[in-house]
């Protein structure tokens, strides 16, 4: 999984993914492919399995059945170095999960210095460059609780980027934010997409999904019901369940 395949290769391939928490079957056979540099959005109601799918792809949850490959290398099953896989796959959570006892800079440099063994000075230099790029340069010495939600989430994205991942998984990264703070985080994601980052994004922001995604997947009850380019899925969804979901979204004034 260390060698990088040429562009347009299959970055993520998921087949027959099953995952249960006790009696609660969350994923019931998910198949999904994401090409390198592709941005795919996952939409669906809460509890449809979007987050679990992302957490499985980062190996935060062990899968019950099914297989995941990254660039053709299997990452599920026995004998996999999870820490090595996670170096290549960044994930950002809905609730930021910054380390509250560390400054912004230390939040970002912890993993590069401890995992990649980057010298501290170099890691800090890279972290400052990233903070600068996302308009957080003056925040490097603050603790997370001094930051707004939008700033915290941008720091969380920078923290994941500091490991130079080839894939980013974003788990409803704007759901915990006040409406006026959503845009600043979405702008960061747009910039990543423009830079060619391969991304799998679970989101409730339908307008954003329509703008940014090459493909949109609609999940319901642990299955991908429909997988289509946004123009197609949002305007003429084929499946009756997708239509029903989108109608509810429109009624709620969110599309």
């Amino acid at each position: 999984m260390t060698e990088r395949e040429p562009a347009n290769a299959e970055a993520i391939r998921i087949e027959g993914l099953h995952k249960s928490f006790g009696p609660n079957q969350v994923l019931k056979g998910v198949d999904l492919r994401v090409a390198t540099h592709e941005v795919v959005c996952l939409i669906g109601a809460s509890g449809s399995g979007k987050s679990t799918l992302l957490r499985c792809a980062n190996l935060l949850e062990p899968v019950d059945a099914g297989t995941i490959w990254l660039w053709g290398s299997r990452i599920t099953g026995a004998g996999i170095d999870q820490n090595l896989v996670r170096r290549h796959v960044g994930i950002v959570f809905q609730s930021f999960n910054l380390f509250p006892h560390m400054t912004v800079l230390r939040n970002i440099t912890l993993a590069p210095t401890k995992v990649l063994r980057t010298p501290r000075a170099k890691a800090e230099e890279e972290a400052r460059a990233l903070l600068d790029r996302f308009g957080l340069a003056d925040r490097q010495d603050d603790y997370p609780d001094r930051l707004s939600g939008g700033q915290q989430q941008r720091v969380a994205i920078v923290r994941a980027l500091a490991m130079k991942p080839q894939i980013m998984l974003l788990d409803e990264v704007t759901s915990a934010l006040d409406p006026e703070l959503v845009a600043e985080v979405l702008d960061v994601i747009r910039e990543l997409a423009a830079g060619g980052m391969t991304m799998l994004i679970a989101t409730h922001e339908m307008g954003f999904a329509r703008d940014i995604a090459r493909r949109v997947c609609f999940l319901e009850e642990g299955r991908i019901i429909e997988d289509a380019p946004p123009a197609e899925l949002f305007t003429s969804p084929k499946d009756e369940r997708t239509q029903r979901f989108l109608r509810r979204i429109v009624d709620a004034g969110r599309l």
Partner: protein, 317 residues
């Protein structure tokens, strides 16, 4: 109450000049204390509250002193426990007359406390980490951890001290059976207290939200690195007050090591008492222990208060 409840009613009950005029404006900050009797005693009128609390304190203390003074055996007790002459004599000690200095003996308590504290902090953390581990390889160690904690939390400290202090020398092993009594005392204190403190650590580790583990692991940190840099620092911050509380208790319990014959403050006081037949030496020991524990207790209060303020400040903790 919303203004719209009374649309267009000039001169209504809530308008300026109406019968309830005094209640309509938004109250000035802090003015609630002046509107009723109860709140004023709690918040406003600081001087009066201080006067009342001082007076009630004096009354209570005065009553206790009075009972002490009028008790039938008062003079006897005052002589036996509070004789200034004996207090001073036991404090400085006089080996020629067969008793030790309590003031000097307290240093043994302090040394035992400091040694035990460091060892407990390390040992109990190891126990807690073993009990929190999930690796199947460590299963036998986890079982041992559970047995250890159950055992030493269940046995009275005094019995542990006696068992180690008399048992280990009786084994007649090289080196370890020939240690100073204080070493056995410290060993017993460490064994007993580590069982408690490991549970405090465990509570601290559990108080750190699972999402912190997920965030750390998702960055590629190993389980140990995540524990070392992300989980443990937050856990320790949460448990400093209960840890200090246990250490206040540990300071006092060093006195139990005296049963082995080690000349610590309590034992020195006892020797004075049985030599001179005056127990003012115990009062001296008590005062010395208070001088040790009260500063630590105040420091603990200070940390708790600081922690409370930090939480109130609205930090994500």
């Amino acid at each position: 109450m919303d203004d719209s409840d009374y649309p267009g009613q000039p001169g209504g009950p809530l308008s300026p000049g109406g019968p309830l005029a005094g209640l309509t404006g938004s109250p000035a900050p802090g003015s609630f204390g002046t509107t009723g009797r109860g709140p004023r005693l709690l918040t406003g009128g600081g001087r009066r509250a201080t006067t009342i609390s001082t007076a009630s304190t004096l009354v209570v203390i005065g009553a206790l002193v009075a009972i002490f003074l009028v008790a039938p055996g008062s003079a006897e007790v005052r002589h036996t426990f509070f004789s200034p002459h004996d207090m001073w004599q036991s404090f400085i000690g006089n080996p020629k007359k067969g008793y030790y200095s309590v003031g000097e003996a307290i240093w043994l308590n302090i040394r035992m406390f400091l040694a035990a504290e460091v060892l407990i902090l390390v040992f109990s953390l190891v126990i807690a980490l073993i009990r929190q581990s999930t690796s199947p390889v460590l299963f036998p160690l986890r079982v041992l951890g559970v047995i250890y904690v159950d055992l030493f939390r269940g046995i009275p400290l005094l019995l542990v001290i006696l068992a180690i202090g008399f048992g280990v020398p009786a084994l007649q092993l090289p080196v370890i059976s020939h240690q100073p009594l204080a070493v056995y005392g410290v060993t017993a204190l460490v064994l007993s207290y580590s069982a408690y403190v490991s549970e405090v650590y465990r509570a601290g580790l559990n108080s750190v939200h699972r999402s912190q583990v997920a965030a750390a692991r998702s960055l590629g940190l190993s389980q140990w690195t995540a524990m070392r840099y992300v989980i443990l620092p937050q856990a320790v911050r949460n448990i400093i007050p209960p840890l200090l509380n246990d250490f206040i208790s540990l300071q006092k319990d060093t006195a139990l090591v005296g049963v082995l014959g080690a000349i610590e403050a309590n034992n020195a006081a006892q020797i004075y008492g049985s030599t001179v037949f005056n127990y003012s030496s115990f009062t001296v020991a008590a005062i010395l222990f208070l001088l040790l524990t009260i500063p630590l207790a105040r420091f603990t209060d200070h940390l708790i208060e600081r922690d409370r303020r930090r939480r109130l400040a609205g930090g994500v903790t």
